[in-house]
């Protein structure tokens, strides 16, 4: 019998944040570890979710499918909020072929429909083996092109920031994920008074920390005794390179500097833990901005997201 997860919110709004979804997965993890054959995720008709949550949903479905689970996404109800939305933003096209889609309302997965609402969303596949160097600028242009009223100087700076974040994160996927499974780069632009952009880059590879650990035996011996949390802290503040000498390790550190410069939120999902850095510029040190959720469902790869306000 398939394990079942109810994708629904306990909040009246119906919104399921990335954190909420992690809690849903955490509660279900024993069922999943026990029943390694089938999983059905029932997406309730009133459920709503931001991009960050939906990319996690995509990642979980694809990873479990890759592990041999029979994964079903069941969009319940005749008028399911998320079905049309996931369809419009191209998320359904990113699901692995083995993932089964069910809906009470018939739909064509390949039909094109237009997204509506006060935000702009875009999802792109990232190859784990071929580095597309044109992608970071394209994505940065999509974001800054979707911001309606902002000074040109601010737009230029934001464009460089998003280019930098996408460049560092998508290159990490190609260089360190060591998987043929696709990763994803996604963005959502929220217009209006509280204008901001959320970007998410994830993969299903070996994970950021695991890609570094072989170097601890060779030339990074001082990190051998570090906990995962200490390693994350070191990567963000000083950088750790898997290569010998001073030939790398600037990527995540630069991302953190950008988060500080724009008072962004930054999230890192690795293994069975989720590191949340809130309003980075408002804290004197990294520790006070950081919250860690642990003992989550164990997932492969790395997921990093940023919420960047347009007016810091």
């Amino acid at each position: 019998m398939a394990a079942t997860i109810q994708f629904k919110s306990k909040k009246p709004s119906g919104w399921i944040s990335g954190y909420d979804f992690e809690q849903i997965l955490k509660e279900a993890k024993l069922k999943l570890y026990k029943n390694k054959k089938a999983l059905t995720i029932v997406i309730q008709s009133r459920a709503n979710a931001p991009l960050n949550t939906l990319i996690r949903l995509l990642n979980v479905a694809n990873q479990l499918d890759g592990e041999g689970f029979k994964v079903t996404l069941n969009f319940a109800g005749k008028t399911n909020n998320l079905l049309g939305y996931c369809h419009a933003i191209g998320l359904l096209e990113c699901l692995s072929e083995g993932v089964i889609l069910k809906s009470d309302k018939p739909f064509d997965k390949n039909a094109k429909i237009k997204a509506t609402g006060n935000s702009y969303v875009s999802i792109h596949k990232i190859s784990g083996s071929v580095h597309d160097k044109s992608l970071p600028q394209k994505l940065a242009d999509k974001i800054t092109g979707a911001i309606p009223s902002i000074s040109e100087e601010n737009r230029d700076n934001l464009n460089i920031q998003f280019f930098s974040l996408f460049s560092e994160l998508t290159r990490n996927v190609c260089e360190h994920s060591k998987t043929e499974l696709n990763g994803f780069a996604a963005l959502q632009v929220y217009r209006g008074a509280n204008g901001r952009a959320e970007i998410v880059v994830c993969d299903s590879g070996i994970g950021l920390l695991e890609s570094l650990k072989p170097s601890f035996k060779a030339h990074n011996k001082k990190y051998e005794s570090y906990s995962d949390l200490q390693l994350i802290r070191e990567m963000l503040t000083h950088g750790i390179s898997s290569k010998k000498g001073d030939l790398g390790g600037n990527g995540l550190c630069t991302c953190f500097l950008h988060a500080k410069a724009t008072n962004s939120d930054m999230h890192i999902r690795l293994n069975d833990a989720y590191y949340h850095l809130f309003k980075v510029a408002e804290h004197h040190n990294l520790e006070s901005a950081l919250k860690v959720s642990s003992d989550l469902l164990r997932l492969a790869g790395t997921l990093i997201s940023f919420v960047v306000p347009f007016n810091k």
């Binding site: 580095h131 160097k133 044109s134 970071p136 600028q137 230029d156 700076n157 934001l158 464009n159 460089i160 920031q161 280019f163 930098s164 460049s167 560092e168 290159r171 000083h238 950088g239 390179s241 001073d246 030939l247 790398g248 390790g249 600037n250 990527g251 550190c253 630069t254 500097l257 950008h258 410069a261």
Partner: protein
């Protein structure tokens, strides 16, 4: 004084070679090009790189710019021009920290170093000497000692430290006693 022969327009290299500004491979490619350019002009001690119109990530910045400055440290200076975009300067910061190499720049006529907190700039005790040399041009330890009320040995040690850390360059001169006297100047 910035002259054309020691001014490098990075955008030209981007356009000629269809670069994206991404990654250490492109950074190393530019390093080789710029090092070749610099080595062809031994008459200049300071080279100015305009980054106007370019965008690059931290890995590119590390290999193309910060490593170039480190490569020529104590021999020639690298100074950035048109570094007006705050977010682009941020991409130089992690390489400045990891290579421990200062990078001076001009933005809208103002001089500064790529920096965060106390990193990337002269130490608190050396800063007055750096500022004196910056303001007054080529300067000896005895001149610094006289104006800042240091002992000559002390001024000499601090200037040497600024030189070795990559903040200043120096030239040899004959002292009145017939020995060698170093004269220091800023990379500006």
């Amino acid at each position: 004084m910035k002259q054309n022969d020691n001014l490098i327009n990075l955008l030209d290299y981007f356009q000629e070679n269809s670069l994206t500004g991404i990654g250490d491979d492109e950074g190393k490619f530019i390093f080789d090009k710029l090092a070749f350019f610099i080595d062809q002009k031994p008459q200049y001690n300071i080279f100015y790189i305009s980054i106007k119109g370019t965008v690059f990530d931290a890995s590119f910045a590390r290999e193309a710019i910060v490593r170039l400055a480190k490569h020529y440290r104590k021999n020639k200076g690298i100074c950035l021009l048109d570094a007006d975009k705050e977010m682009l300067r941020l991409n130089l910061l992690a390489p400045v920290l990891s290579l421990d190499q200062p990078v001076p720049y001009y933005s809208k006529g103002s001089f500064d170093h790529i920096k965060i907190d106390k990193i990337g700039i002269p130490s608190k005790t050396n800063l007055p000497l750096f500022n004196f040399v910056f303001e007054n041009g080529i300067t000896s330890a005895s001149e610094v000692a006289e104006h800042l009320d240091f002992k000559v040995n002390n001024a000499s040690t601090k200037l040497k430290s600024l030189y070795e850390e990559g903040f200043l360059l120096r030239t040899e001169d004959k002292s009145e006693s017939g020995g060698v006297e170093y004269k220091y100047y800023a990379i500006k």
